[in-house]
Amino acid sequence: MTALERLGWKRLLNWALAFVGVLLAGLGPVIFSAFFAHTILTQVFWLGIAACSLIFLSAYVGMVSLAQVSMYGIAGFVLGNTVTQGQVKGLHLGYDPWVGILITIAVTTVIGLLLGAISSRSAGIYFLMITLAFAVLANTFFGQVTVLSGFSGIGNIQSFTPGFLGNPAENPNRLYYLAFVVSIVVYVLCRYLTRTPFGLTLQGIRDDPVRMGSLGFNVPLHRSIAFGFAAFLASIAGILFVWWNGQIAPGSIDLSAVIDLLVVAVIGGLFRLEGAWLGALVFVVISNYVRSVPGLGHIGITAERYHTVIGVIFLVIVLLSPGGLLGIWEWLQNQLDRAVLRPAVARPAPAEGPEP
């Protein structure tokens, strides 16, 4: 029995692709242009972490949260308020960056737990709406409250980073590799968590909350903790985001940003953690390069109108494949498997991901 047969070619292929992807990303600054590596790929990394927090909730707890953007926004505002010095807006406490990071992660996680406690008794579409309302309220809150931010937000956060990172504007490679490594750690952590008893309980709750409740599991508590964990992931994304972006303003977490993150998650696939980074890559590339696609200009799609393109892609993916690009990929593999490689063997229908 060869290795191919033992593991199955699909698994080998996916491992190979993942290896190539990680290798390319690891060599990113060497093989890609500076713009592609530092602007696009670094954004893919932090956006992927944020999307990963959304996908973790939707894939393993069955809750689609639109509050993840607010979570990384809150993290950004907390970091901006604690570490910066001598600015007009915000509290500019001027703490040590490491203290600021700890406070940021703690505050965001606690807010996530609280919001989880409020909304965890409402599942499904109610949960989606409550988190959406929270997201828009958080945006308005930071716009109104000038003590913390105000409309124009907090700038120059790049100058207050930990020593090993330096100023990301001057040393973009360090931020690139930090975001890259953190992405991998977040992915592994999520994968690990889903195999712990806690993660298995979450999946039980996703599939049948009533049964899990009658088995004695505290469903709202588990959901709240899962939401807190997702907020923790989002806070990491938020820290990377403000270092990458240099500033945070309410405009960064408005409704369109909320929907962008949802689009990222849906394009990649709401039921697979890897989809987070794939979706982020597709989204960021489209939003940066749509202007250079020939022919689009003739039908009225210009660089400013990339949201129409994104919207159409989003619509097509939702209509055709609820599992996103990864869902399509899996379907293709199965078709190939059935049609070419093992036509004679009658195979049971492949297990689908959970229906949305």
Binding site: S122, M129, F141, Q144, I259, G300, H307
Partner: protein, 363 residues
């Protein structure tokens, strides 16, 4: 007969937990009493001061609240109608509102522009029909768009509520971007001069247009109520809300009822756009704001309940207007920065007590 000891024990154990269960209710009552005392007798460092010293401004804020609640109700009732029957959350509701407003704006420009030359209209140029016709056209256009959305995308994804929400979000992204292209600047529908005047109520002069909006909301609310409660179609819709499959098994064409409910719900968003576009304004990004408003109203009131939408709109209207007027000012010139917190607190309080809203039932 001696009472069994178990019953005694259960009773004894119930005491503290029932007290605990009443704690949130007591908290809500205490908070309400505090707010009432604050607004009526205390209110230091606010724009108006306590209501007993300045009853006319209090009355104005009261009218502001209830008229704002009127617009909220018109828009949110469409949202809740669609959800109630189809369990479909129409995330494009805010976009339909904004597009309806823009269409009313364009029609009004065409109607009036012939005689007055177009650009910034003033109320005296606008007759009653120059508002009513655009509003009806906005209703009709949005009803058609809603119908297309329902037939084209939502009909065959029935029961997959998350997927439907995602589909409507995709539609709202496309609509928002295209509206941004055609109307990049702020626009305003103009109220007819006849109603945009000050009306005296007792000693208070109040904006007639806002009262007109309230009137519209009341008429629409009553019409919806009569339609749902007194007509055969309303009966089918109500039955469909309770048990869709049973109704269709009885030979009723439930798809027709769905289509009509979506038509009316989307149309109400367009009509609301004509009202809101005249009273407030129309600008890119307001679609999200009004989607949020509808969401808050129905989350408070309970999805799918018309009465819930009315109560939710009233609560939200009062909390948002009063917190803006009666919180201590945080800067020298005007206003408070913290009114948004009270909207959120209202939402949290309702959800903590009733996860499905005041009048909502689990799906």
């Amino acid at each position: 007969m001696v009472t069994p000891p178990i019953a005694l024990g259960r009773r004894a154990r119930l005491e503290p937990s029932s007290l605990l269960r009443r704690a949130p209710a007591a908290l809500v009552v205490a908070a309400s009493v505090f707010v009432l005392v604050w607004v009526l007798f205390w209110a230091p460092k606010t724009n108006y001061g306590p209501a007993i010293d300045d009853p006319s401004d209090f009355f104005k804020t009261f009218l502001d609240s209830i008229t704002f609640a009127g617009v909220l109700f018109v828009i949110a009732s469409g949202f809740t109608l669609i959800f109630g029957l189809m369990r479909a959350v129409n995330m494009a509701h805010g976009s339909l509102y904004l597009l309806g407003g823009y269409i009313a704006f364009e029609i009004q420009q065409k109607l009036v522009g012939g005689s007055a030359g177009g650009f910034g209209l003033v109320g005296s140029q606008v007759s009653m029909w120059d508002w009513v016709v655009p509003a009806i056209v906005a209703f009709a256009c949005m009803a058609v768009i809603g119908l297309v959305m329902q037939q084209g995308f939502l009909r065959w994804t029935q029961g997959q509520d998350l997927r439907q929400a995602l589909i409507t979000i995709a539609i709202s992204i496309i609509l928002a971007d295209q509206m941004n292209k055609h109307w990049p600047l702020q626009e305003t529908v103009t109220w007819p001069g006849r109603i945009d005047t000050f009306v005296s109520i007792g000693s208070v002069k109040y904006n007639g247009a806002r009262l007109f909006m309230l009137g519209c909301a009341v008429v629409i609310g009553l019409a919806l109520w009569a339609w749902l409660q007194k007509t055969k179609m309303g009966m089918i819709i109500r039955a469909g809300v309770d048990d869709r499959q049973m109704v269709s098994a009885l030979g009723v064409n439930i798809q027709l009822a769905f289509a009509i409910a979506f038509l009316v719900g989307a149309g109400l968003a367009g009509f609301g756009g004509a009202m809101g576009g005249a009273q407030f304004n129309l600008a890119p990004g307001l679609d999200g704001q009004w989607l949020l408003n509808s969401l808050i109203v129905v989350i408070i009131g309970g999805m799918g309940s018309l009465g819930g939408a009315a109560i939710g709109a009233t609560l939200y209207g009062f909390v948002s207007q009063f917190s803006a007027a009666y919180l201590p000012t945080t800067s020298d010139n005007c206003c408070t920065e913290y009114s948004i917190i009270f909207t959120f607190a209202l939402l949290v309080a309702v959800l903590a007590a009733r996860p499905h809203g005041l009048f909502g039932r689990p799906a």
